[in-house]
Symmetry: C2
DNA sequence: TTATTACTCACTCAAATGAGGGATTGACAC
DNA sequence: GTGTCAATCCCTCATTTGAGTGAGTAATAA
């Protein structure tokens, strides 16, 4: 145990000086958020494992932490023995997660194909080609339909997605995992 | 224990008939792959929890399983007690994962920002606006530069990304996690 | 039967785009 | 002090695109 702090403002230098094997990081702290804290620690010393240890099971915060490089995510309700297990596990190269968190993480892989904009199957075909970078002309050739029909489909897709251009449609489709 | 099968060809009907709480699913089986097996079970009865139980720790297979809806992923080297724990955990709404798997899953969140195409910081700014669906004119306004400069940046970006249109650039940028 | 919907095709027009050319400035490296 | 490069700006041209409007057919639902 090399230290204990009530904020992570000096996380970079502390990490450089003490070279900890494991850091337990809270999210809600005075000053800098623990989400940035993860980043500081990881940038200062990538080998250091960071376990988020917090009350939050908020989706947005969770994914920000994971994207920032956290190696584990335990809720504060975790019994002490499980916390020790988690620390051992992260040293051994694992990624301890509270059950609820693990479920959220896996769920994030399964968000695919919502189609909440009610695109027809033909429209989905067209959208997929559009995402591949095809022009209206190429889409028409690929689907053996006329140029104007392809454009017609595109216009309908834009309407359903509430966008005004192919670029926006691609951004929305990829961003919201529509296809 | 309602059944045990050496393939998952009839997974749909079996699931409908026996309504299992939990399914342990292997990947490598005669006939249909367990990756499709997950899908069959989940489509037949979404409430049924599926734990992958296999020797594979292959990245590609892992992510296919997760995307297909698996609720857990335990390696066959898992000690029996941990396997029982995992079954309890999945029933309680958790997602049991072997440490190696958990680590791979978390790593998949951290693949961001490669910039293997050596975009300048200004070009990244422009690309981010492009992805938001901005036109050249809007990008120019947003960055307080002239219309032609914005177009100039866009052309350079397209060259670096080896694409010929904004749509392709967006697809590539989002697909390869460049930004 | 009537409506609705998906899919198909056509035409027009103004605006945006991609591709080509060239030019200046300032910073930084060798 | 020469060279490189990012960033800025300008011009032209053919093509593509988005938006508007209309219309025919086939399948499905009310």
């Amino acid at each position: 145990m090399v230290g204990e702090y009530n904020n992570c403002n000096d996380a970079t230098t502390i990490t450089r000086v003490y070279k900890p094997d494991v850091v337990l990081m809270d999210i809600d702290m005075p000053g800098e958020s623990g989400i940035n804290g993860v980043r500081y620690v990881k940038e200062a010393r990538p080998q250091t494992s960071v376990i988020m240890y917090t009350v939050f099971e908020d989706d947005e915060k969770l994914f920000q932490c994971l994207c920032s490089g956290a190696n584990g995510y335990l809720l504060k309700q975790t019994p002490p023995q499980k916390l020790f297990d988690g620390i051992q596990e992260v040293i051994a190269g694992g990624s301890p997660m509270s059950p609820v968190i693990a479920r959220k993480v896996l769920n994030s892989f399964q968000h695919g194909k919502s189609n909440k904009y009610f695109l027809s199957s033909r429209e989905i075909e067209v959208l997929q080609l559009l995402i591949k970078g095809y022009s209206a002309k190429m889409i028409a050739a690929d689907l053996n339909i006329s140029f104007d029909t392809a454009r017609s489909h595109l216009k309908n897709i834009y309407q359903k997605l509430h966008v005004n251009s192919g670029k926006e449609a691609i951004g929305k489709a990829l961003g919201e995992h529509i296809v």
